[in-house]
Every structure is written in C-alpha cells, then in structure tokens.
C-alpha cells in the first residue's frame, strides 16, 4: 500500500516535470515564431550542436559539443574547468527546459561564446526541437 502511494507520487512528479518542459518549450517556440522563425527542424538543431565557431578568437575551434558532447542525453564536461555538465535533453535530465529565463540566459552566453554572436530565433527553436526529439 505504502509502496504504491510512493510509486504514484513519483510518477506524478515525473508527469509534472514533463508537463513543465513541454509548456516552457511551447511558449518559447511561439515567441520565436513571433520573432520571425518558421517551421522548426530537429535536424537543423543537431547541425547547430556540431557547428564550429567562427566568431573571433574567443570562439575559435569551439562548438556546443566541446562541452556538451555530441549526444545531448549524455553528461558533458566543461572543456577548461572540468566541471561536469548534466545532460541537455529532458529525456535524460528532467530538470532541463523548465524555466524560459534560464534557457534564454544560456542561449545568450553560449551562442556568443561559441558562435561569436547571438543565435537567431530560428536557430534557438531548431535547437529546442532537437533536444525534445532526443530519446
């Protein structure tokens, strides 16, 4: 009895987290569309993960995969500091994509740091679509 209550609780928590990232991403995709993006593609998002920066000396040779690995369901490691970075894909890390401000903060920091510029609404939408498609 106690066990089933606990299982119920756990699955409810899982469900709530899933709902959380789905709603957050939906809102962000709508926002990106309002900003001019159209038809998001997981394949384009995956291409972005491996695109090497050309934005000046600080971005030289870097891409998202340098720290996040080429598979978003796997944990990464900061290239310089060695800090472990939890997986990007919600399937492996349910805490991801729960908070729109946090998503935007990391797009800002990491697009500038890697591509040497801010990402377009299209790129951001493609990338989120890719992360959600990862199984």
């Amino acid at each position: 009895m106690k066990k089933s209550v606990m299982l119920c609780g756990l699955s409810l928590m899982g469900l709530l987290l899933t709902e959380g990232h789905a709603a957050t991403v939906d809102d962000l995709l709508l926002q990106y569309q309002r900003e001019g993006a159209t038809g998001f593609s997981a394949a384009a998002g995956q291409e972005l993960l491996n695109r090497t920066g050309q934005g000046g000396p600080e971005a030289e040779g870097k891409n998202c995969a340098s720290c996040h690995t080429t598979h978003p369901a796997k944990p990464g490691q900061h290239a310089k500091t060695g800090k472990v970075i939890e997986p990007l894909a919600p399937v492996a890390n349910p805490e991801r994509l729960q908070d729109a401000a946090k998503v935007e903060k990391w797009f800002l920091r990491n697009c500038k740091g890697t591509l040497g510029r801010i990402c377009t609404p299209q790129e951001k939408g493609d990338f989120l679509t890719f992360l959600l498609s990862v199984r």
């Binding site: 106690k2 066990k3 600080e58 900061h78 310089k80 500091t81 060695g82 800090k83 970075i85 903060k105 800002l108 920091r109 990491n110 500038k112 740091g113």
Partner: protein, 185 residues
C-alpha cells in the same frame, strides 16, 4: 505481504537512524573545527552565485579574492577568461553585493586574511592562482602532478585535490592528488 512491509519498516528505520548519526557527526565536526576565527574560508551560501557562476566552474568562495578583484571580474563577464558569462544587470548587482561583502579583505576568516595580506594595495588580481599566497602554497607541487593529469589539468580546479574545497576547507591534510595520493610538504 506482511513480511515485506516489515522489511520495508526495518529498512526505513535503519535509514532514519543512519541519517541521524551522520547529521550528528557533521555537527560535531563543525564544533571541532572551531568558531569563526579558526575557519579557513567561509563556504558559499548564496544560491544565485552557485547557479550563475558554479555551473561552469568550482564556485570559488568570495573569501578567496579581495573586493576590488570581484568588482573587476563582474565588470568584464562578457569576456571571462575566453568565455561569455554575461548575466542581467539585476543579477550582476546581487552578485556584487554578495561577493564584495564576503571578500577576502572584508572578512575575519584565517585563510582569507592571509590571501588579502599577500596582495599589494595597487594590485587587483583576477586570478586566485596569481595571488602571492596561492603561489607560495602551491610552488612545491611538481608541475607534472597536475599539468598532464586528466583529472586536474589546471590549478583552477580546487576541488580536484582539495577534498573539502566546497566546504571552504583547504587544509593540506585533506589534499588527495588524483593518481598521486596525499600531499604534505
């Protein structure tokens, strides 16, 4: 089923008692390490700082650099050791308050005071590893122990060798160099 519930109950009981004991131990550890004046460096207690700075690197305690160094670092987050680490103005203000109030030259913790005292008044170091105190404390460690060591690579990774770094304790008796072992000079 009854048997299973009983086992579950016993398991939970052991967990609770075990948890209680470990809590008790950590409390007495704290007492043993003494009051404020014996503390090494105050541990990080600001969630904003842990989240915004500690996501990419060890969350260096504010007591590891003087206030003027933290101000200089915060003013240049757009180009932070080759990375973009921008935060909103609001977050930057909050971080500035936290870091400067608890900076090495503003607190009473033993190692913080030594770090602050090792920096000339006209210097504003942005790397902890460049402060005179840090250099003196690490100069006897052979470069080969860390430079090509995949688990270290750079002295910026405090936690790689200082097993209690996160608690703000940098005592040499707690040092474990990966692949090398204990270090005491």
């Amino acid at each position: 089923m009854h048997q299973k519930q009983k086992l579950l109950g016993i398991g939970l009981f052991i967990l609770c008692v075990g948890g209680g004991i470990s809590l008790g131990v950590s409390a007495s550890d704290k007492e043993r390490s003494g009051g404020k004046q014996h503390r090494d460096v105050a541990p990080v207690q600001e969630k904003q700082y842990s989240a915004d700075c500690g996501s990419c690197h060890f969350a260096y305690q504010p007591g590891l650099l003087p206030a003027r160094s933290w101000e200089k670092l915060l003013a240049g987050l757009g180009e932070h050791f080759g990375e973009n680490a921008e935060v909103s103005q609001e977050v930057q203000n909050a971080l500035k308050t936290y870091l400067t109030r608890n900076a090495a030259d503003r607190v009473d913790d033993g190692r913080s005071k030594k770090i602050a005292a090792s920096i000339a008044p006209d210097e504003t170091p942005v790397r902890i590893t460049e402060t005179r105190y840090f250099v003196k404390k690490h100069r006897e460690i052979p470069r080969r122990f860390w430079e090509k060591n995949p688990k270290i690579g750079s002295l910026i990774r405090c936690e790689a060798c200082h097993t209690k770094a996160e608690e703000g304790s940098f005592n040499e008796h707690e040092v474990q160099i990966p692949g090398i072992g204990r270090w005491e000079d």
